[in-house]
Amino acid sequence: MGTDSKAVRTPASASRVGPAMGQFLGTLRETSIGLVVPGLFILVWWIAVAAGVFPEAVLPSPLAVGRALVEWAFGARDAGPYSGTLIDGIAASGQRVLVGYSIASILGVLIGVPTGFFPLVGKLLDPLIHLLRPIPVTAWVPLSLIFFGFGFKGAVFLVAFGSFFPIVVNTIEGVRGANRMLVKVGGMLGASKFELLRSFILPASLPAIFVGLRLGIGLAWVLVIVAELMSVKAGIGYTLLDAYSFNRYDVVIAAMIMLGLMGFFSDRIIVGIQRVLLRWHQEVSIHAE
């Protein structure tokens, strides 16, 4: 068939540029397509403000928000209260997320693996985990204030406690779901209980563990903001609240954008690690299709 042979032939543009260049152009094209809708969104926002649908005092224009963001990040000559404090805010919030999330990841995996693997540990811990999990983490704020105070520790507790649950639950599920066939193979190859866990079950449950880790990092950002809105006196979340009380809506929106960006980039870091560790898993899923 004529159409078939045409479809197989390489497109002229791809053959003119090298494969690396072609890939770069492809990525560029995809990225620019991805920017179309956000661009339109900003445009509509701009027009709405310019046409006076919302008063400037309530909804600042994208330009004003951009200016606030630049001033927040780099400072300005007519230095306002937020001028040049962005980096401190990122450091404060980021540190809480990093410490809390690390604790959650380590504990989540350390507790999840034996809970999933040993039936007795599972029977002991399952009820507790499933009773605590439905309590919204924000409900723990008062207790966390009592035990850990208004500072760093309280925020870290909330972040760690909240992101612990998706990690531990997914680890348990991953270990339980790790193919029963692997247990057979491990036994045949002469693996001890410990080796079975280390060399067979743990690698097989990594995909599920990463699902938990990604859910966890999202929650970690939510909770650090909750902590900063409620008690802690520093960080992006605190700036957001503070700017709100001074009617600086340009800074409020700038803070929202920063939170989005930081959540996005921390998720990308985890996805990057996942890509390296789980190359086999992606390929296997692709093959299965």
Binding site: M181, K184, M188, W280, E283, H287
Partner: protein
């Protein structure tokens, strides 16, 4: 007991009890002996208990009666002396071909350099000397099954157990694997129990073909195959044996059960 007896099953029973179906006697009075260097093929329609029997010999499952011995010692659990080649390969997808073969050796305490040598030797034996570094998920089904065979052989098992190992391969790959398996069996002098429900596969591979039927007490029958190798499935002798084996199995199949023999 003689020295060259590898596996012996005596009065083996296995039944499954369930609330709604009652007791399902899958294996009854199974007596089977595998000698050193035997290539025994277990054949029978789906559901007759071939996998059940193989799993019991491998130590994955326990009989409800009777005894299984490997080299004179009762089977207590799975282990590298009873290597299994699974139908779906059961490789570790995060390792490459060599690492998949090596892992069993590592668990036996074989040193790094020695196990690399052994792994490469067996990969070469199954025709994968060039693919040692390839991640197994990038290998075709036939190549994955070769890795799985190399992994089993590298354990230097007392008995090699194979449960429909070529069931997932296309007819051409299967024919190639049959020839190679016979070659491997000859060069390594392995003792093999091979499960299939294909008459042709059974007659091509085995020096003993043992037939099972669902619900039967004891094994249904056994044929010794003395045809010279490589065997020609088109030859008159081969087709005559096929007829004989088919009749032997179908004569014992109760009409009401749905059964299938290729």
């Amino acid at each position: 007991m003689q020295n060259n007896v590898i596996v012996s099953c005596e009065h083996l029973m296995r039944s499954f009890t369930s609330k709604d179906m009652g007791i399902n006697h899958v294996l009854r009075e199974i007596n089977l002996q595998l000698n050193q260097g035997d290539f025994v093929v277990l054949i029978g329609p789906s559901g007759c208990g071939k996998s059940t029997l193989l799993n019991i010999i491998a130590g994955f499952d326990k009989p409800t009666g009777g005894t299984v011995m490997v080299r004179g010692a009762p089977v207590r659990g799975p282990g590298p002396d009873k290597a299994m080649v699974f139908q779906d390969y059961a490789l570790l997808p995060w390792l490459n071909a060599r690492e998949n073969v090596e892992i069993g050796l590592r668990l036996q305490g074989v040193g790094t350099r020695e196990r690399r040598c052994i792994a490469d030797e067996f990969l070469r034996l199954v025709g994968l000397g060039h693919a040692a570094e390839r991640p197994v998920y990038k290998l075709s089904g036939g190549m994955q099954q070769r890795v799985s065979i190399a992994r089993a052989l590298a354990l230097k098992p007392t008995v090699l157990l194979m449960d429909e190992p070529f069931g997932a391969l296309d007819a051409f790959q299967r024919a190639i694997m049959h020839k190679e398996l016979v070659q491997i069996w000859k060069t390594t002098n392995a003792s093999i129990i091979f499960v299939t429900h294909s008459l042709e596969e059974a007659l091509f591979l085995g020096n003993r073909v043992v037939a099972m039927t669902p619900g039967a007490v004891g094994l249904t029958g056994e044929i010794s195959i003395d045809l010279p190798r490589p065997r020609d499935p088109m030859s008159l002798e081969f087709t005559a044996l096929k007829r004989k084996l088919f009749d032997m199995i179908t004569a014992h199949i109760p009409d009401r059960t749905e059964t299938f023999v290729e």
